[in-house]
């Protein structure tokens, strides 16, 4: 017991696999935990392929990090590697996408050291593990928020501070206890934390739940990532139940009802299939119909139960998001049923088990991507050569233009006067007026399309040209003069400080800081039908991307290096601005809105006609359905 009372040092163990998106934030939050006791941060780099390794090395140069190589055998094995390397008596195990809040470590270590007596006067069991509380970040995507609320709701059902299960990734363990029960079971893809909790309990230890130790989980965004993760949970859960048969009723975090759901759905789906087959085989219709109706009734009951849970959660958190529980959890249960079916099938066919790992590559190359690694290498060598020959300016202003002869000269003049330091590239999208002649005489870089093929293509060509020329940042402004070059400086700030991959100029964003208030004078919110459409579109995009979208059709933007690499190949086409928001969110780029003041176009008419607007609206609706379901695109590492 004496060892428990002087828990002096703390070792953080963070397994990392393709975690470049969040790891900086995660590690910064951990560093801020320091409360005077000895601290070490052990990062287990488990065969990342997204540039995390480089990022970690870069961070380790300035921070006290210990980087250990993992064997690429999954999360449980990676954590074990970290635990073995740890020096101190307390192991704080934090996942790569968990951002701990202030006081997290102090609270959990306090819980581990707590050897008080319970109300009957007998000493309580020594505490081997303590778990923190995930709070919901309201700025993330709908799916991530719903998942987080669901977990908070389940945590809410835990009574007092004793718990039967400590979730990994947000927990502190006693190193001696972990070694005593033989570390994490590496055969699990998911569920190794439940397994550890059960074994610690069996060894006579207590587990604590600390609501004050708060952290934010950056859940996977998008429905596809969610389903893949749920499939993994389902598979891990069966492995878990096979190893601990008495735990079929769940534990304090995963209640019996949650375990029951996929089973009921499996029965209902089997019933529906049987009814269909029986109906085709020609048994009396009433038999097949009864079976079908019973199955549908079961599914209906599940939905009603989830809706009730959603309403309770929505009232508790004051947010309508949990109302999607019925739909989301029907998907979740389907993923679990799939996992159960796969597990059973492999068992029957005597194939080795195939758990889904949380630390598998999280992103893949889009099928049909026209870009091979080889071509990328050639392009990069080319860019390096160009760079070596003439160090290019860092920032390029890209102006897509179609029949803008009337405005282009004044736009370029203004731009030059405001930003003499940036280079300019005009992409002429098959203009039929004087634009090509004009551009040739204006001493700017230019690309010309022989036919009009659209702004998306103009962007792709311009970005590819910029990437090959070695530009790091691209600013897009329109050729009609509605964007003011003076705003560029403010838009560049978040990209240059590394806070954002993409900055979008919004004509209708709230001017939060007083300094910008003067700029708001010129911006008037559009009224009437157009204004309504824009607001509805903005609301839909906000819900789908999890970020506030105030100006879904703005073309004024600044793109950082990651965005340039992604969009040079995959910029959406058609009427691309709203779809671009969805696409960036799907591929996990950081997007920031900055308020700007727009003017009406200088001269000439807009190319928008009622017919084109209707076509664009249809495309955007389709994009809302399809883009979140597409696979995430792997962004190739830069030079």
């Amino acid at each position: 017991m004496s060892a428990l009372c002087d828990l002096r040092g703390v070792s953080f163990v963070i397994p990392v696999h393709n975690g470049a998106a969040h790891i900086r934030e995660t590690l910064a939050a951990i560093r801020a935990q320091a409360d005077g006791r000895p601290l070490e941060i052990i990062v287990v780099d488990d065969c990342s392929r997204d540039g995390s390794s480089d990022l970690l090395r870069e961070l380790a140069a300035g921070w006290p990090l210990t980087i250990v190589r993992g064997g690429g055998r999954g999360a449980a094995a990676a954590i074990n590697v970290g635990v073995r390397a740890a020096r101190y008596p307390v192991i704080c195990q934090v996942d790569q996408d968990v951002v701990v809040q202030s006081g997290w470590m102090t609270t959990l270590v306090g819980a581990l050291a707590d050897v008080a007596v319970d109300h009957s006067g007998s000493p309580r069991a020594p505490v081997a593990a303590a778990q923190g509380y995930y709070v919901t970040d309201r700025r993330t995507s709908l799916c991530a928020r719903a998942m987080s609320y669901d977990l908070e709701q389940r945590y809410g059902a835990i009574d007092g501070s004793d718990t039967g299960h400590v979730c990994t990734g947000n927990a502190a363990y006693l190193a001696t206890a972990l070694h005593q029960v033989g570390l994490f079971d590496e055969t699990f893809g998911y569920g190794y934390d439940n397994d550890m909790s059960y074994r610690l309990r069996a060894a006579g230890y207590g587990l604590r739940f600390c609501r004050e130790a708060r952290s934010i989980h950056r859940w996977r965004e998008g429905v596809f990532g969610y389903l893949r993760q749920q499939y993994g949970f389902g598979y891990g859960r069966i492995d878990l139940v096979m190893k601990h048969p008495t735990r079929i009723g769940g534990d304090s975090v995963s209640r019996a009802a949650m375990m029951f759901h996929p089973l009921v759905l499996a029965v209902a789906l089997a019933g529906l299939t049987a009814a269909l087959l029986l109906g085709l085989a020609g048994v009396p219709a009433w038999a097949a119909e009864t079976l079908a109706f019973t199955s549908l009734a079961l599914i209906g009951m599940l939905l009603v139960e989830r809706l009730a849970a959603g309403v309770v959660a929505a009232r508790r958190f004051g947010d309508a998001t949990p109302l999607v529980f019925p739909l989301l959890h029907l998907w979740r249960d389907t993923a679990w049923v799939l996992a159960i079916a796969t597990w059973t099938l492999r068992r029957v066919l005597r194939r080795p088990p195939h758990p889904s790992h949380s630390m598998w590559p999280r992103a893949v190359v889009a099928p049909g991507a026209l870009f091979s690694a080889e071509r990328e290498a050639v392009a990069e060598r080319h860019a390096a050569r160009l760079k070596a020959r003439a160090p290019a300016a860092r920032v390029l202003t890209l102006i897509p233009a179609h029949n803008e002869a009337a405005n282009l000269a004044s736009v370029l003049g203004e731009l030059r006067a405001a930003r003499p330091d940036v280079d300019i590239l005009v992409v002429d999208d098959g203009s039929t007026d004087q634009t090509p002649l004009l551009v040739d005489g204006l001493a700017v870089r230019w690309l010309r399309f022989p036919e009009r093929i659209g702004i998306g293509s103009a962007m792709r060509a311009g970005l590819r040209y910029a990437a090959r020329r070695g530009y790091d940042v691209v600013v897009r402004i329109d050729g009609d003069g509605q964007h003011r070059p003076e705003d560029i400086a403010r838009l560049l700030v978040p990209v240059e400080s590394g806070r954002a991959d993409v900055v979008l100029g919004s004509r209708f964003a709230d001017h939060a800081d007083g300094a910008d208030r003067a700029n708001a004078a010129g911006a008037t919110r559009p009224r009437g039908v157009i204004g309504l459409v824009r607001r509805v579109l903005g609301a839909c995009l906000s819900a789908l991307t999890g970020h506030r979208v105030t100006d879904p059709t703005s073309g004024f933007c600044v793109l950082g290096p990651r965005a340039i690499r992604l969009l040079a190949e995959h910029h959406p086409t058609g009427y691309p601005e709203p779809e671009l928001r969805l696409f960036l969110s799907r591929n996990a780029l950081n997007v920031v809105e900055v308020p700007v003041t727009a003017r009406p176009r200088l001269r000439g008419r807009t190319s928008l006609t009622p017919g084109r607007i209707a076509g664009a609206a249809a495309r955007v609706l389709l994009a809302m359905l399809v883009v979140p379901l597409r696979e995430r695109i792997r962004i190739l590492a830069g030079d």
Binding site: A443, W446, R448, G454, A461, R468
Partner: protein, 132 residues
């Protein structure tokens, strides 16, 4: 049953002629092989149905269609649907290829222009020249 025989002969002729036309178009390279298969398969299907009308009758009975020729119309509609869906895919792919080609040619011509300017500058260093 002369009427039935006559329609059978007409159907047979039409499907054989269709098959021959498709094969001839492939031979003359007016249709590339990959796009010809759907037409060859459908004319073979038509041929089979016109040789053995029992196939049509049996299929209609199984589906519960009382008037077998309707089944023929249904099959044709399905074939036309499949074909036009296939063409939509092909057209979309070609649109993407054309977009990419135009993008690449525009970049190439810009790079060529840059190179020419550079060469000109190197050849005639004294003569001041507008830089691109």
């Amino acid at each position: 049953m002369p009427a039935i025989n006559r329609i059978q002969i007409v159907a047979l002729t039409v499907s054989v002629v269709l098959l021959l036309i498709v094969l001839e178009l492939v031979r003359r390279r007016k249709i590339t092989e990959e796009y010809s298969f759907i037409w060859i398969l459908s004319s073979l299907l038509l041929l089979a149905v016109s040789i053995r009308r029992e196939i049509l009758h049996a299929a209609a009975r199984w589906l519960g269609i009382s008037y077998p020729p309707i089944l023929l119309v249904m099959i044709l509609i399905v074939i036309v649907f499949a074909a036009s869906l296939g063409f939509s895919i092909i057209v979309s792919r070609q649109r993407q290829q054309i977009e990419r080609l135009i993008e690449e040619t525009s970049i190439l011509s810009a790079e060529l222009r840059d190179l020419r300017d550079e060469v000109d500058r190197r050849d005639a260093p004294k003569e001041p020249r507008r830089t691109a």
